[in-house]
């Protein structure tokens, strides 16, 4: 389960994976976590991106392929690394939402671009 402010307040969303998980450019994806424990959502910018991420622990680099780049609609800090990414789905004929898991945050754009101030909106 995930916290999510869907319906105007923080509440727990049950995680219900769907069989058909085809992402489209208009898909809204959300992530919960970060330094302050809040949900941010965004629109998909690009599919199938390949990025190289520096591993600050081992000192080496890791390559990620088929990455989905998302433009978030709110401030987005480094603490979101590893956070669960999901699509909030409203249950038909109900006010309830469920979370359809789609992935995990592996990098922020500011971090990818090695910008000086990495804790900001991307």
């Amino acid at each position: 389960m995930l916290y999510s402010p869907q319906c105007g307040e923080n509440k727990l969303l049950p995680i219900i994976p769907t069989v058909d998980k085809t992402l489209v450019p208009t898909s809204e994806v959300c992530a919960f976590g970060g330094l302050h424990g809040k949900m941010v959502c965004g629109e998909i910018l690009e599919f199938n991106v390949t990025i190289q991420v520096q591993n600050v622990v081992s000192g080496g680099n890791s390559n990620f392929v088929n990455v989905v780049k998302v433009n978030m609609n709110d401030d987005y800090d480094l603490g979101y690394l590893g956070a669960p990414v999901y699509i909030p789905l409203q249950v038909p004929n109900s006010d309830e939402f469920v979370a359809d898991p789609v992935g995990q945050i592996i990098e922020t754009l500011a971090q990818y671009n090695n910008e000086e101030n990495q804790d900001k909106k991307i």
Partner: protein, 130 residues
């Protein structure tokens, strides 16, 4: 680890949470570890009863990745980094299966916890900081 070994937990995950009589809203964000000391009619007989630990942990909670197991106080960007716990998973096939775990980013958790020899980093969840 082969693909498909990890399964994202879904649906009713209430069994992962503390039982109602052991928890309230405050308990869900705190680790409870209590030793109850009880005595019988014979005061020389002392029974030490260890209560079940109740840890309310969910996907999306903050975690620390340490640069060394010797680290006592985490300082972000120095000897530790802050990340977020991913989806709750269980490993049902392959070696070392487990029922309760969380996806984490490899850049947040050092290889020592992943079985890579020679690495020394550790990671843990800090409930009071979420």
């Amino acid at each position: 680890m082969q693909a498909g070994e990890l399964r994202i937990e879904s649906g009713d995950l209430s069994y992962l949470l503390p039982k109602p009589e052991e928890s309230n809203d405050e308990d869900l964000n705190n680790v409870t570890l209590t030793d109850n000391l009880t005595t019988s009619s014979n005061t020389s007989e002392v029974k030490l009863v260890r209560r079940q630990q109740a840890v309310g942990t969910r996907a999306g909670f903050r975690m620390w990745g340490f640069a060394s197991t010797n680290t006592q106080i985490p300082v972000d960007g120095n000897n530790a980094k802050r990340c977020t716990l991913g989806f709750a998973v269980r490993k049902v096939h392959g070696g070392n299966p487990f029922d309760h775990g969380f996806l984490t980013l490899g850049n947040c958790v050092h290889g020592d916890l992943l079985g890579i020899p020679g690495s020394r980093n550790s990671a843990f969840y800090t409930p009071n900081q979420n």
